[in-house]
Amino acid sequence: MRLMLVLLGLLGAFTAPLAAQDRLPPAPYAYEQLRDPAKEARAKALMEELRCLVCQGQSIADSDAPLAGDMRHEVRSKIAAGESPDEIKAWLVARYGNWVSYDPPFDRATAFLWLGPLLFLLLGGWLAFGRFRRGASDDAEDSA
């Protein structure tokens, strides 16, 4: 990723933009990127995994909702302060529960979610390959 955002990222970094919908202006990092491309990439990856809690099926990385903006600011500020994405996610999960993360953890409640596809595949494969074994030897006999 070749991100060049040295010059203009500065421009509005600590001003208070005016939001039309909400009383409070959005926080600075809601609509602006971090200056360090590596940090911004980490923040972006994390933001795409976090649910906008007031939207319908959107991550905070692609929502105009004021809350999503606040959460983006939170994530970018913490990344800028040197926290790791995992720490930030753990902090958010502690506050909002697993609901906030689009990447469900593997635990008792989600075991079937993660293992289910494998079970489907094995079951389907077992059914299908049973047919091949029987079918491989014979030629064109019609069993109808």
């Binding site: 990723m1 070749r2 991100l3 060049m4 955002l5 203009l8 990222g9 421009l11 509005g12 001003t15 208070a16 933009p17 005016l18 939001a19 919908q21 202006p25 609509y31 602006e32 990127q33 972006k44 995994e49 649910r51 319908q56 099926g57 959107q58 991550s59 990385a61 692609d62 929502s63 105009d64 697993n98 609901w99 906030v100 993360s101 689009y102 990447d103 469900p104 409640a109 989600t110 079937f112 979610l113 993660w114 289910g116 596809p117 489907f120 595949l121 389907g124 494969g125 299908a128 390959f129 047919r131 091949f132 029987r134 079918g135 491989a136 014979d138 064109a140 006999e141 069993s143 109808a144």
Partner: protein, 656 residues
């Protein structure tokens, strides 16, 4: 009058569905031979009447008849005409009537044009279609009546969600619905064939055009919906693994599996039980999707509980239809032999693996969509999103693509592994070239996009291989269709991979005169001006994008405000500006004004993305639909009828 007439037509159409069902059942139980003659005309009349009722509802929206509750809630006299019409299906009741119209018209089309099936199977199929219709007529009339009058007509209506006031979205739901509900025909064919035990190549050939037909519409609908989300939601995402998207993808996956397995049944008289099963699954998934979207389950289990009537009604209908079809299948499964056998390394073998992978992906998408709902009911709130699907479905989809490389190059029944390898070197070389180029020049690329683009290279070349050494003018249309559709998958995959790997993003607060660099472009923010639309006001920004080669393009993104109608809150939408270049798209959004510390508000939030090859995603979707359309054209009965008529004429000419 119009509304009352519409409701009356619905009742009559429901009665005709009842008639088809009863007459068909009595005929099939033996005896009443003359009753069979009723079923075809009743099906046709049901289709015509339901379609007329739908046209009457459109007329109510066009006339802005605010005494009708549905119009008052979802339309407004100031809306542009096209969105008044589109408003007809932009709501629950109207969309359910559209659903039922397509269901009834499909029945009418079978009654008019299906000539290949045995008479009793055809009557059973039409009866099954009528039974489906009957339940949904009851749902519409008793719990979602679109023609309901208000005691007092309000002066004007509440309008249509501004997000939906977009020409792309106006035609997205009908397209998707044709696909969704078109699968009901495959379902009814399967039920009909199970009842009369006529499952074989003839049944498969009769069903195949219908599967292709609805799958074309599903493909176009999903592709168009993805493009709509891309340019309308203002953040440039093209697939969100959102539950509403998933429930459209699930029938598409079932349709894709079905049209491959039906090919095996039609050509080789194999996989018969499986084809019937998939036909049942396909439409069942359409019903599950309708249920999930229409019951309010999506927002939360609790919103379902607030208004459980509709949800419960749909749930009962679904249980009857799916349960009934599966019971019938279980009863007849013993007498449905799987048909002819084949080796693993054969065309059939590859198609079985294709089906295995497609149905596994289907199952996991369904699992991921339903899991949060079930978990919430049990007191756990979790979210399942892109990380899950990419990690679980991604690898399966890539393996599926590799099977797609081999399948078309294999012969039926049994083939030789060495021969397969001898057909592949060029494709493997293409994949290796892509992989090396990406590793050498691509920088840091994620593993999934990397593999995606590599596989795309292999598939692109291999998909053309079936044409190798053939007389292109004599190559049958279905072969062209397969080649183009498979090539479309490669194009789509390459677009997805390139977009995720090489996207460039710039989010800034810019003042007029500022220049923002993104990708290969220097974008100058010239300024903003207010613009008045037919039913909105808007701030239009002007950006001039200049490439490193010196070419300049003007882009005009808008931030629109739709006033609140009849006491509702105003809504704001972003109209992104798109600049399409051979290498991708530049995507620009004008955000909100930014106030500086000294109180001046001369700067605006500007969001810019350079999205390499992003339009290949939808081009690929279009190619897949085109390929399916060519296959349909090659197999359509119409051509067959035309040909046999010509043959008959020429025979008659030479007859003594």
């Amino acid at each position: 009058m119009i509304a009352e007439l519409g409701l009356a037509l619905l009742w009559i159409a429901a009665a005709l569905a009842c008639l088809s069902l009863v007459a068909g059942t009595l005929y099939l139980r033996g005896g009443q031979k003359d009753l069979a003659a009723l079923v075809r005309p009743a099906s046709v009349a049901q289709g015509v009447l339901t379609a007329t009722a739908f046209c009457l509802l459109i007329a109510l929206f066009v006339r802005s008849d605010m005494s009708v509750e549905l119009v008052a809630r979802n339309s407004n006299s100031l809306k542009p005409m096209i969105f008044k019409i589109a408003g007809t299906w932009g709501n629950h009741e109207g969309s359910m009537l559209l659903w039922l119209t397509i269901l009834s018209l499909s029945g009418a089309l079978i009654a008019l044009f299906e000539k290949r099936l045995r008479e009793d199977t055809l009557i059973a199929t039409l009866s099954a279609q009528a039974a489906l219709g009957l339940g949904f007529f009851a749902f519409l009339i008793f719990s979602s009546n679109p023609f309901n009058r208000l005691p007092v007509a309000p002066p004007d209506g509440q309008g249509l969600n501004p997000l939906l006031q977009d020409i792309g979205l106006a035609f997205h739901p009908p397209t998707l619905y044709v696909g969704y509900v078109g699968l009901s025909v495959a379902f009814s064919f399967a039920v009909g064939a199970l009842i009369t035990r006529e499952i074989g190549p003839a049944f498969a050939r009769a069903m195949r055009p219908w599967v292709l037909f609805s799958w074309i519409f599903l493909t176009i609908g999903i592709t168009a919906g993805s493009y709509w989300a891309y340019y309308e939601l203002g953040w440039g995402g093209w697939w969100f693994w959102d539950p509403v998207e998933n429930v459209s993808l699930i029938p598409w996956l079932a349709g894709a599996a079905l049209l491959h397995s039906v090919a095996v049944t039609a050509t080789r008289n194999a996989l018969r039980a499986w084809t019937v099963m998939l036909a049942v699954i396909g439409f069942s998934m359409s019903m599950v999707g309708t249920f999930i979207v229409r019951s309010g389950l999506l927002t939360s289990v609790h919103s379902f509980a607030v208004d459980p009537e509709r949800g419960t009604f749909l749930l009962v209908l679904m249980a009857i239809y799916i349960g009934g079809a599966l019971t019938l299948f279980a009863l007849r499964a013993g007498s449905v032999a799987e048909g002819k056998k084949f080796a693993l390394l054969s065309r059939e073998g590859a198609l079985v693996i294709n089906n295995l992978l497609l149905t596994t992906i289907l199952a996991l998408v369904l699992l991921g969509t339903l899991y949060p709902i079930v978990a919430e009911a049990m007191g756990e709130k979790i979210s399942v999103g892109p990380p899950y699907y990419n990690r679980v479905a991604g690898p399966l989809a890539l393996i599926l693509c590799l099977v797609m490389v081999a399948g078309p190059l294999l012969g039926w029944r049994k083939d030789d592994g060495k021969k397969l390898w001898s057909r592949l070197p060029l494709a493997i070389f293409a994949g290796a070239a892509v992989l090396f180029a990406l590793i050498l020049f691509g920088g840091k690329v994620g593993i999934l996009p990397l593999l995606g683009m590599t596989v795309a290279g292999v598939v692109a070349v291999a998909s053309l291989a079936p044409l190798w050494g053939r007389n292109l003018r004599r190559t049958p249309l279905p072969t062209w269709g397969m080649v183009i559709a498979h090539f479309g998958v490669a194009v789509c995959l390459a677009g997805m991979g390139a977009e995720s790997a090489f996207i460039k993003e710039r989010l800034v607060a810019a003042a007029p005169g500022d220049v923002i660099k993104v990708g290969d472009f220097a974008v100058k923010f010239v300024g903003v001006k207010p613009v008045a639309g037919p039913n909105f006001t808007s701030i239009e920004g002007t950006l001039v994008a200049t490439t490193s080669g010196g070419q300049s393009f003007t882009m005009r993104p808008e931030a629109r405000t739709f006033p609140g109608l009849m006491g509702t809150a105003p809504t704001e939408t972003n109209e992104a500006a798109l600049l399409t270049r051979p290498g991708g798209q530049l995507y620009a959004v004008l955000g909100q004004p930014v106030t500086s510390n000294d109180g001046t508000a001369d700067r605006y939030q500007i969001r810019l993305w350079w999205k390499p090859l992003v339009w290949w995603i939808w081009l690929g979707g279009g190619l897949i639909a085109l390929g399916a359309a060519l296959s349909l054209l090659g197999r359509a009965q119409l051509l067959g009828i035309w040909r046999s008529r010509r043959r008959r004429k020429s025979e008659e000419r030479f007859a003594p």
